[in-house]
Amino acid sequence: MKALLVRDLMLAIRAGGGFGLGLSFFLIVTVLVPFGVGPQTELLSRIAPGILWIGALLACLLSLDRILALDWEDGSLDLLATAPLPMEGIVSIKALAHWITTGLPLVLAAPVLGVLLSLPIPAYQWVVISLAVGTPALSVIGTFGAALTVGIKRGGLLMSLLVLPLYVPTLIFGAEVARRGAEGLTVQAPLLLLAGISFGVIALLPFASAAVLRINLR
């Protein structure tokens, strides 16, 4: 399992797509928003938590097809399926690798980009915390979407259509934590719910992803 994780990480770093692409996309979205809504500081600081969450979500979405598509094309997924590893373990590792290469950098970059959007000072910690708690859920749900569409040529658009509705609860609670943090309100309730979703998804969804992947490999 560890070997698979290391291999995935190495591939992501060598291909250069993992860290760089998602982060650059996050940066671009954040830069584009002020062009779209105008440069007023008050407006920006009010919508900043939401923008950071949407940007992170889209950056996550963009890199999903890399989770499985490459391994599917060169046949290493078939090899993995015959390996002694259970399929549930494989998809969990894949999701973890995706989170380390995409989710974690996003969490770390969010405060820097918050400066660009004049994020209120008390919001910084909550944006980081909510992203840290929420992005694993995004990776795991995304792995499910990637597993569903792995056999489809040019399935990227379809995968977005399938995955985005599944992202709704995570986005709502995550953005709520960040917004309440920015306004100095108590964040306990949405934070607990967000954590609940993350843990629930991490515990249960790999079974669905594994089932879907087995069907696709049939």
């Binding site: 499910f144 569903l148 569409t149 056999g151 489809i152 399935g155 379809l158 259509l161 399938l162 985005l164 509705p165 599944l166 709704v168 609860p169 709502i172 609670f173 709520e176 917004r179 309440r180 309730a189 949405p190 719910l193 979703i197 969804l205 669905a208 089932a211 879907v212 069907i215 696709n216 049939r218």
Partner: protein, 242 residues
């Protein structure tokens, strides 16, 4: 005589062929009765004026939008557990009907909301959940279309339906939570069953029956179509090999 006999496609087509004319007739009668009764022969509500007439299409379509998804969920479970093709195809047949019902509920809600709340659209929990439900329908149908192998498509969409159901419920609660944070106490509840009077209740009941029957008729017809389309594909494939 077991319920599972209808899992045989030939038996299913033969039986539904017999039943369908009756279902269509009943659908026509109850829909026309309900809608004409509701539109022409019910009084206006003292607060809502004539917009109360929208209830006769809004409530039944909203009910069917949810029930169609439930039916797809049950059919998907039957497919996963017992692997009856008719079941999977029935789920596929129901999806577009459910999507249309959701669309009707949203559209009539907008037309109703415009004079009552002064806006076509509000991010009220109910409205938002229906929009999300519509997105689920779109994704489900798109996945069916995208996969060529029938059995693979049935398997994958079934699992999507199960996972989607869980997330739809999650979204429903999340949306409730989210909107409370926005404007407290602003309840735009459409739930008037509690205080609705008989004058409105009986035509509404007829309309609901009409929508249910229409859904059944459409699902039967569309399932027949899917069975035939599948058989056509199978026969063509066999000819191609020969």
């Amino acid at each position: 005589m077991s319920f599972w006999e209808y899992a045989n496609p030939v038996k299913f087509i033969r039986t539904t062929d017999k039943v369908l004319p009756w279902v269509w007739a009943l659908t026509g009668i109850s829909l026309v009765t309900g809608l004409v009764w509701g539109f022409f022969f019910t009084p206006d509500d003292f607060r809502q004026g004539s917009t109360v007439k929208i209830i006769y299409i809004h409530v039944p379509s909203a009910l069917m939008a949810i029930n169609a998804w439930l039916m797809m969920l049950v059919a998907s479970l039957i497919w996963i557990v017992r692997r009856h093709h008719v079941s999977a195809l029935a789920a596929r047949a129901a999806a577009p009907v459910g999507a249309v019902m959701t669309l009707i509920a949203l559209a009539t809600g907008a037309f109703w909301g415009q004079p009552m709340w002064g806006t076509w659209w509000a991010w009220d929990p109910r409205l938002t959940s229906f929009l999300i439900l519509f997105l689920f329908y779109l994704g489900y149908m798109a996945l069916w279309e995208a996969i060529e192998n029938d059995d693979t498509a049935a398997d994958l969409t079934s699992i999507l339906c199960l996972v989607g159901s869980v997330f739809a419920i999650l979204s429903r609660y999340a949306v409730n939570f989210w909107n409370q944070g926005l404007h407290q106490g602003a309840t735009l509840s459409l739930d008037k069953e509690e205080n609705i009077s008989d004058v409105f209740w009986f035509p509404l009941l007829v309309c609901i029956a009409g929508f249910v029957l229409l859904f059944i008729a459409l699902v039967f017809l569309r399932t027949q179509t899917e069975i035939r389309a599948r058989r056509t594909r199978a026969l063509l494939a066999r000819e191609g090999q020969a």
